[in-house]
Amino acid sequence: MAADYYQVLGVSHDVSPEELQQAYRKLARRNHPDVNKDPAAEDRFKEINEAYHVLADPKLRERYDRYGSEFRSVPEGMDDQFAGAGARGRGAGRQRGQPGGGAGWAGEAGPFGSSGGGAVDLEDLFSDLFGGGRGAAAWNAGADQEAELELSLEEAYRGGRHRISLGPRSYEVTIPSGVVDGQRIRLGGEGGRGRGGPPGDLYLVVRIAPHPRFRLSGRDITVDLPLAPWEAALGAAVPVETPGGEAKVIVPAGSSSGRRLRLRGQGLPNPRGTPGDLYAEVKVMVPDQLSEAERGLFDELSRVSTFDPRRSR
């Protein structure tokens, strides 16, 4: 681990043991893989433990301050370190990856150990990091993780291959056509690494990005249908944009703004049932500027018509 241990724990170099523990406990809680589903949390959690393990031990901390992150490879202190706490940690670490090994029972970490007077609590804390010293658990399954997978509406409509990078990991997942917002895609065994036990699962939670034209509600899509006043009044067959391409919609005569015309089955597809619908929502538009002829016709219309939209509703 090359990261600066003080930075990892967000503390200054003259931090007191109490402050150190406070900072550690808070970070450990927040980044625990069972509390924080972010795939990066597990690595952060390990780094936090590693940093605290070193800084909480006065001897290790002194060596760390003196030699920096390479302190473990500095020969002098090696004897003390490996004779003491370090040796247990390293030795136990090698036992990882032995599921079902005879010694692998998870007992209570506390009662089994009698060594190291005040260190009981730490022992408990670090049993995970170092594969469990003393009679404690030697292996365990990994935690499930969760990551967001943002798709455009078109991608959700079509489905297909999608590449996603989570830190150093990269996956190519096949998105089924017609996923909906919030749907979870499970990648078995791609979650938190277990200690010797099976890894957890990784869940990709689909998030469909807002679209400039299409509004999504479940599998139903709404799109604006701009109409000229005469198209709205007389009825028309006009093209409307759908995620699958252009479609024709028949506008009945007398369609005011807000009227929703349903194109059945033109929403997001549904691999297990009926697809969503597409709603074309009428939006009557008028020209910014009228030509002489248009002005004349609208004038005539306003004289002839008895229509009052504020009364006849």
Binding site: D34, A136, G182, L187, I208
Partner: protein, 99 residues
């Protein structure tokens, strides 16, 4: 990880106490204690034999991680699990209402 992989749905199955404990990496006595604390559900058959859901292997792993990593005692973990489940439920609800 470039080839698309098919992930089969989890199988629903049950294990007897000893088999479950072995798979969970847990001493059978410890498993009894988990049951007594209401952390894991045991399903007794007519013969008095205890059976456990395979899905609870993940629960046990979670319990052990929380115990080892955050030095929570097992009784407190019951509460933590309930709260985490509740948060998960609320998040799912929030996702649902956003869409």
């Amino acid at each position: 990880m470039s080839a698309p992989t098919r992930y089969p749905p989890a199988r629903v199955s049950r294990y007897r106490l000893d088999a479950f404990a072995a798979r969970a990496g847990l001493h059978p006595d410890m498993l009894h204690r988990f049951v007594a604390l209401g952390l894991v559900d045991a399903h007794p058959d007519p013969g008095g034999q205890l059976w456990f859901d395979a899905a609870d292997l993940a629960t046990v792993a979670r319990i052990r991680r929380l115990h080892n990593d955050l030095s929570l005692n097992y009784a407190a973990i019951g509460l933590v699990l309930d709260l985490l489940d509740e948060i998960e439920r609320l998040r799912a609800l929030a996702r649902w209402s956003r869409s």
